[in-house]
Amino acid sequence: DVKVTQSSRYLVKRTGEKVFLECVQDMDHENMFWYRQDPGLGLRLIYFSYDVKMKEKGDIPEGYSVSREKKERFSLILESASTNQTSMYLCASSDGGGNQPQHFGDGTRLSIL
């Protein structure tokens, strides 16, 4: 089974801090994704990567950046955390093209105070 591991289940940070969310997958998947989940808004795509060092903006990239230095690891960075970034963050990976299903981590519930 594919295993996608997010570094923290719960995280509390302060406004203005630089925050790192880490995601690791163990199935050699090409594609990795970061989403945030908010009530009534579903899952919204922040950034995705289809290869090492490649990244593309999703629908809501403002205030975020990403890093993919190794195939198995995809990091989400909040450059200067703000309270409106309090949310559930989900990492996912998939193999090949768009017909392949996404495999998710358990999520990180991030609170910005």
């Binding site: 996608v4 594609n31 994704f33 989403y35 009534g40 808004l41 579903g42 899952l43 919204r44 795509l45 995705f48 289809y50 593309e56 999703g58 629908d59 989900l90 996912a92 998939s94 093209g97 768009g98 017909n99 299903p101 996404q102 495999h103 998710f104 981590g105 358990d106 999520g107």
Partner: protein, 110 residues
């Protein structure tokens, strides 16, 4: 553009049926359906690739209309274990971008 799901939420009693719709303003390359139980990661249920396709397993099935702009998920004789949030997901044709619908919260009561 994020696909829109309807209804936003639904409450059922065990044994009742439900339909969840996923609509897009443009033709979809394919549609995936996922279920997320409270506090857990979303889990893949099924994929539909072709316009007019229908597929399913057990008492959960789905269809993809001919124009590939709408998909529906059918839950028949619902069980308590069906409770959760259901999402449709799709990839932009020709890209690796993958987006999800707005989600439908389903609760099955005993």
């Amino acid at each position: 553009q994020q696909p829109v799901q309807s209804p936003q939420a639904v409450i059922l009693r065990e044994g009742e049926d439900a339909v969840i719709n996923c609509s897009s303003s443009k033709a979809l390359y394919s549609v995936h359906w996922y279920r997320q139980k409270h506090g857990e990661a979303p889990i893949f249920l099924m994929i539909l690739l072709k316009g007019g396709e229908q597929k399913g397993h057990d008492k959960i099935s789905a269809s993809f209309n001919e124009k590939k702009q709408q998909s529906s998920l059918y839950l028949t004789a619902s069980q308590l274990s069906y409770s959760g949030t259901y999402f449709c997901g799709t990839a932009d044709s020709g890209t690796y971008k993958y987006i999800f619908g707005t989600g439908t919260r389903l609760k099955v009561l005993a």
